[in-house]
């Protein structure tokens, strides 16, 4: 088992069109580095030197990681990571 990472439409150019890819690592940061080894460029679209990009939201098991440990949020096999662009409601 691995960590399932759901990729939004806009970033699927990096995953060959795959909606979800498998990753490994003990933290979200580790998983993104692991993904980048097979999908070069993907990580740079999600994080910059300051951390998560402003218009990107990342959820571990549906909880926003900005209210958990940010990029250092712990993940384990069987978890689901969801990456989504920030959109408006109302």
């Amino acid at each position: 088992m691995a960590i399932e990472v759901r990729i939004p439409t806009i970033l699927r150019t990096y995953t060959g069109g795959e909606k979800a890819v498998a990753g490994d690592g003990g933290t979200l940061a580790d998983v993104l580095v692991d993904l980048d080894s097979r999908h070069p460029g993907l990580r740079d679209r999600i994080v910059d030197e300051k951390g998560l990009r402003r218009f990107v939201n990342v959820y571990v098991n549906d909880e926003d990681v900005r209210f958990m440990g940010g990029l250092e949020t712990a993940v384990k096999d069987g978890d689901t990571v969801t990456v989504l662009p920030a959109v408006a409601g109302g």
Binding site: P8, T9, I10, L11, R45, R53, R54, F55, V56, N57, Y59, D62, E63, D64, R66, F67, T82, L84, P85, A86, V87, A88, G89, G90
Partner: protein
């Protein structure tokens, strides 16, 4: 209760307990029934405060035209207040919203400009901002950045909840403009040490996230993450399941976003039970189910209902 006019009756909504969905006598859920407002949603509060503030600031004069990007409820509330006050309203609404929203907007006299489905409300905001440039005489109240939106909840929604439930430990609401959570969250944090402020954010089908690039993403100007304790993304399947539980077990006929909010509230309840802690969890029923009947949300299998919602804006 007696009021001078319909707009004077906004607010003072009931807070009702959920005896069946609450896990125990020590961990209880309470629903703030915002569908009891004049147009049937929590947005009546923000619309009234935004129009009052614009009048006070001299932005709105008789016969003025108001412009607003909205996925529905804010537009419906604005249309009702605008008609009472003698203003015209132009709403920019994504085309992937329910037919009832269009009917209600037209009934209260608003004109509608449709924005493309792909990109959801982001596109509506973009189109409305472009129209504002073309029509400098129109007044865009701009719910995403208008402090009066959050102020409505700081001055009315949250004080009502605290008066009815002084033992409150958690407040759960939907995250759209962020006005409800910012206003209620700030007030409750000032009055209830240690309270948890929890956001439930709708997760739509892929079409809604179909931006051309990530720089088109949108974070409302009102949003201040430091007000929140946690933020959960709730998909349409979970939202539908909870919407149905709410009506089947407690008799509360709510809109789909309220199901998403209940889902997050039940999560908080489960964590309190696990921790052996007492909890009084107030959550917002943002609107009733009437506007969503045409989506088929309340009948047939959950899978079919979720499939019908794919690509729709349901909050």
């Amino acid at each position: 209760m007696r009021y001078d006019s319909l707009v004077d009756s906004v607010g003072q909504t009931p807070l009702v307990g959920l005896p069946r969905l609450s896990p125990s006598a020590d961990v209880r859920l309470w629903a703030k029934l915002e569908d009891h407002n004049p147009t049937g949603s929590i947005k009546d509060r923000a619309a009234l405060f935004m129009i009052d503030a614009a009048e006070k600031d001299g932005l709105l004069s008789p016969g003025a035209t108001i412009l607003e990007p909205t996925s529905g409820n804010t537009g419906i509330s604005l249309a009702m207040v605008a008609r009472q006050r003698g203003y015209s309203l132009v709403c920019v609404m994504p085309e992937n919203t329910s037919i009832e929203r269009r009917q209600l907007l037209e009934m209260w006299g608003a004109s509608i400009v449709y924005s493309p489905a792909a990109g959801g409300s982001n596109e509506a905001v973009r189109v409305a901002k472009a129209m504002a440039v073309e029509h400098p005489d129109w007044v865009m109240l701009y719910q995403y950045g208008n402090p009066a939106n959050a102020q409505a909840h700081y001055e009315t929604t949250a004080p009502e909840i605290l008066a009815d439930l002084p033992s409150i430990t958690h407040f759960v609401a939907g995250l759209g403009t962020t006005g409800t959570l910012m206003g209620c969250g700030r007030f409750l944090r000032e009055h209830v040490p240690g309270i948890e402020i929890i956001a439930a954010e709708p997760r739509y089908g892929e079409l809604v996230y179909g931006l051309r690039n990530l720089d088109e993403g949108f974070v409302p100007e009102l949003y201040d993450a430091s007000v929140l304790s946690a933020r959960f993304s709730v998909g349409s399947a979970e939202a539908l399941l909870r919407t149905r539980e709410l009506v089947e077990q407690e008799g509360i006929f709510a809109g789909i976003s309220s199901g998403a909010i209940l889902h997050a509230a039940l999560g908080a309840a489960a964590r309190a039970v696990e921790a052996g802690a007492r909890a009084d969890i107030a959550f917002v029923v943002a609107d009733g189910g009437w506007k969503y009947l045409s989506t088929g949300a309340y009948g047939g299998t959950l899978d079919d209902a979720a499939a019908r919602l794919e690509g729709q804006l349901w909050a």
